[in-house]
């Protein structure tokens, strides 16, 4: 391991990280924040992330009289009277002796000594920490300028709620699709995906180019079922679907309407009226009855009077509910219970992607569908889990629910009412966790954010978004500079529960991975056949 020496440690602290003076022949321009360096301490070797790069001078005069006119003088002065400095955040320490190597990387409890040598991290340094691909570890990307694979421990990953963040167009959907393929291939969990942009089921698209990429069903075949809210659109897009999802009026609860308050333009009294009417008509009938209500009718007037519901509120409510009723998948009586159908698939270990069809990007549809279905699916998982606990049997296979535009469900105002808020806070009590995808993380409640186990974030520009993504993270300030400097596409910062240390990666190329996905599937199939032969 003869990596180039970069410089030496000249100052630092455990909380703030260390300062590294660059050797004069090392160019600052080649040092990017987010990269890893190795600090060779006296007893320990530290792996640290570069979080800032700065230019220093030993003479204040130089700043006021910069000798820039002369190339030779500038060359002499750079690295001597002026020099580059790195701010490095030590992330892990590895003991230098044999015991240390056996024990593996540890969290950092001290800082390297003065003048410890600093060098670039090698492929091996990173590999020791992030492991190789195996039955748990899934390759998600590469460190900056390295070939080493960064792998996520997926069974560990799915034990917590996780989030993928970043501006629009940065690569969230591509990465989420990769993660889902990994979770399925590694058998870490069964998935339910609310695919509000029709990108996960059969095919996804490349931004702009109009080119297509294979999505879950094309890659994983019978292990994935595509459900749709809009059969016609799916047929038109030549997507073979396994089931059509309808939601009956009887499945909509007042809480759902409250969640939709903004998109349906409801006033506070109108929302209160919903609860009163639901109590009056019953949870299963209220929507139907409300939609049929004739406000000119004397009996209705009397009822509204009795419930202290103002005529204005009724009109406001009706306008909102009519808008809801125009959603084609919402029917007075669903042909069959979609929840049952989904649970049936999930129970058999088949992953379900629910396409939105023409309701693509429709927040009202997203909130209504995701919330009504998830509420009851979660309920069933709760029963299954409790039952298993009671009988001392194995709990159900973990379920991961993927939602895009997660702030619709997890913002501070609504999070107490949505099932998603509950799932986020109860952790994995009932074997259900979330994979949330969002471009505006500032919209997500801080408490929820701090519960998110592993966060993968692409570039974010908005200060509040950056702040919120880093909620509850130590060394927030340093990671902030790293985050703000990510490339506009396909570069993300991963940190949290499922990774030993934060790291910036270039996301694995999706299309180039088809072959590897197919090979992984083949190996798994062979192994299963072998097992069947052995035990069959």
């Amino acid at each position: 391991m003869t990596a180039d020496r970069l410089g030496i440690v000249v100052a630092g602290s455990l909380t703030g990280g260390v300062e590294v003076k660059l050797d004069c022949d090392v160019s600052v321009e080649e040092r990017a924040v987010g990269r890893y360096v190795v600090i060779e301490g006296q007893k320990l070797r530290f792996l640290g992330m570069v979080t800032d790069v700065s230019l220093e001078t030993i003479d204040d005069e130089i700043t006021s009289m910069p000798p820039v006119s002369d190339e030779f003088i500038a060359q002499v002065i750079s690295g001597t009277s002026t020099y580059g400095k790195l701010h490095v955040l030590p992330m892990l320490a590895i003991g230098g002796d044999a015991m240390g190597l056996l024990d593996g990387p540890k969290t950092v409890k001290t800082v390297p000594a003065h003048f410890s040598r600093v060098r670039e991290a090698t492929e091996q340094d990173i590999e020791v920490v992030f492991g190789k691909e195996d039955e748990r570890h899934f390759y998600v990307g590469n460190p900056l300028d390295m070939e080493t694979k960064v792998c996520l421990d997926l069974p560990l990953f799915v034990t917590r709620c996780n989030g993928v963040f970043g501006k629009s167009g940065t690569g969230k959907t591509f990465l989420t699709r990769l993660l889902l393929i990994g979770i399925i291939q590694k058998g870490a969990a069964v998935n339910l995906v609310f695919d509000m942009h029709n990108e996960y089921g059969w095919k996804g698209s490349f931004e702009g180019a109009g080119r297509e990429v294979k999505a879950l069903k094309q890659i994983l075949g019978s292990r994935v079922a595509v459900f749709t809210l809009d059969e016609e659109s799916s047929r038109r897009r030549k997507v073979s679907t396994d089931a059509v999802v309808e939601i009956g009026y009887d499945e909509v609860e007042p809480e759902d309407v409250e969640l939709l308050r903004q998109t349906l333009n409801l006033t506070q009294p109108a929302v209160e009226a919903v609860y009163a009417l639901a109590r009056e008509f019953g949870a299963r009938n209220w929507l139907k009855r409300c939609l049929e209500m004739d406000t000119g009718d004397e009996a209705t007037k009397a009822l509204l009077d009795r419930l202290h519901i103002h005529e204005q509120s009724v009109r406001n409510l009706r306008r909102g509910l009519d808008k809801l009723a125009r959603l084609g998948f919402l029917t007075p009586k669903a042909r069959e219970s979609s929840v049952k159908r989904i649970l049936d698939y999930l129970g058999r270990g088949i992953n379900v992607v629910l396409e939105f069809g023409k309701y693509k990007g429709d927040s009202t549809a997203n909130v209504l569908v995701a919330n009504t279905l998830t509420r009851r699916i979660h309920d069933q998982y709760r029963r299954w889990t409790e039952q298993a606990q009671g009988e001392g049997a194995a709990p159900p296979q973990p379920l991961v629910i993927t939602i895009e535009e997660a702030h619709l469900f997890l913002n501070h105002e609504v999070m107490d009412q949505t099932i998603f808020g509950t799932i986020a806070r109860e952790m994995r009590k009932y074997n259900v966790t979330l994979l949330i995808v969002d471009q505006r993380p500032s919209g997500i409640d801080e408490e929820v954010m701090s519960q998110i186990g592993t966060r993968i974030t692409y570039r974010l520009d908005n200060e509040r978004d950056i702040d919120n993504v880093l909620t509850g993270v130590s060394n927030k300030g340093e990671l902030k500079t790293v985050l703000a400097k990510l490339e506009p596409k396909q570069q993300s910062l991963i940190f949290g529960h499922a990774v030993p240390m934060p790291i910036v990666i270039r996301t694995r190329d999706y299309e180039k991975s088809y072959q590897e996905f197919a090979e992984a599937a083949e190996i798994k199939r062979k192994a299963e056949n072998l097992a069947a032969d052995l035990w069959g």
Binding site: E61, P67, F72, V76, T80
Partner: protein
């Protein structure tokens, strides 16, 4: 008295030490006006003591008798010496060299020797090979910078580096390296550093 190792064929004997102290020696040139260039690397004594030429003087042999102007009717300057052959006996050229290192066995040391060279030691101009070998390390620059109060140090340093650069295959690389050695020595004296750097700029 120990004997000098036979000097390399290319080193030219140019002068003889007439005064020696730890940090510098003075030598008288065998030829009038034939002092080595300012800043050149010379050696004297046994084992070798290396010096950098810092101050050259041509003056009357007898300090009490100042030379008189003699060229009023001469055709040119050379004619003055031709017409007055005794002049080369009445005048002499001496130079001071700042000691910057010595040889210890096989090794070159870039600090002062335990003893200065003896008076009457021969002084040689170092050939390019030796200059290159000695200036592989630039540690001697700090001696130059700090040793001489009676010499135009910055000029000497610049001249020395310019000449040494000629002996190195990559002149620019050598000069940048030299500049980088000087920069911390001249910390807080940016103007001086700049002066030297402009004088050695390739």
């Amino acid at each position: 008295m120990s004997t000098n190792p036979p000097p390399q064929p290319s080193s030219t004997r140019i002068a003889e030490v007439i005064e020696a102290r730890s940090g510098e020696f003075t030598a008288e040139c065998y030829q009038l006006h034939q002092a080595p260039p300012l800043g050149s690397l010379v050696k004297a004594g046994s084992p070798d003591v290396f010096g950098v030429v810092c101050d050259t003087v041509t003056e009357s042999v007898d300090p009490g008798r100042r030379p008189l102007a003699r060229g009023q009717d001469a055709a040119d300057e050379a004619d003055v010496y031709l017409q007055n052959p005794q002049l080369s006996k009445l005048l002499r050229t001496t130079f001071r060299a700042l000691v910057v290192g010595h040889r210890e066995g096989e090794t070159l040391r870039h600090y002062l020797p335990p003893q200065p060279p003896h008076v009457h030691s021969f002084v040689y101009l170092c050939p390019p090979d030796e200059v290159r070998a000695f200036t592989q390390s630039l540690d001697f620059l700090s001696i130059l910078m700090f040793s001489a109060e009676r010499a135009p140090v910055d000029e000497v340093v610049a001249a020395c580096l310019r000449q040494a650069a000629q002996a190195h295959p990559d002149r620019k690389l050598f000069l940048v390296g030299a500049g980088k050695t000087l920069a911390p020595l001249l910390r807080g004296e940016l103007a001086r550093l700049n002066t030297i750097l402009t004088r050695i700029r390739p």
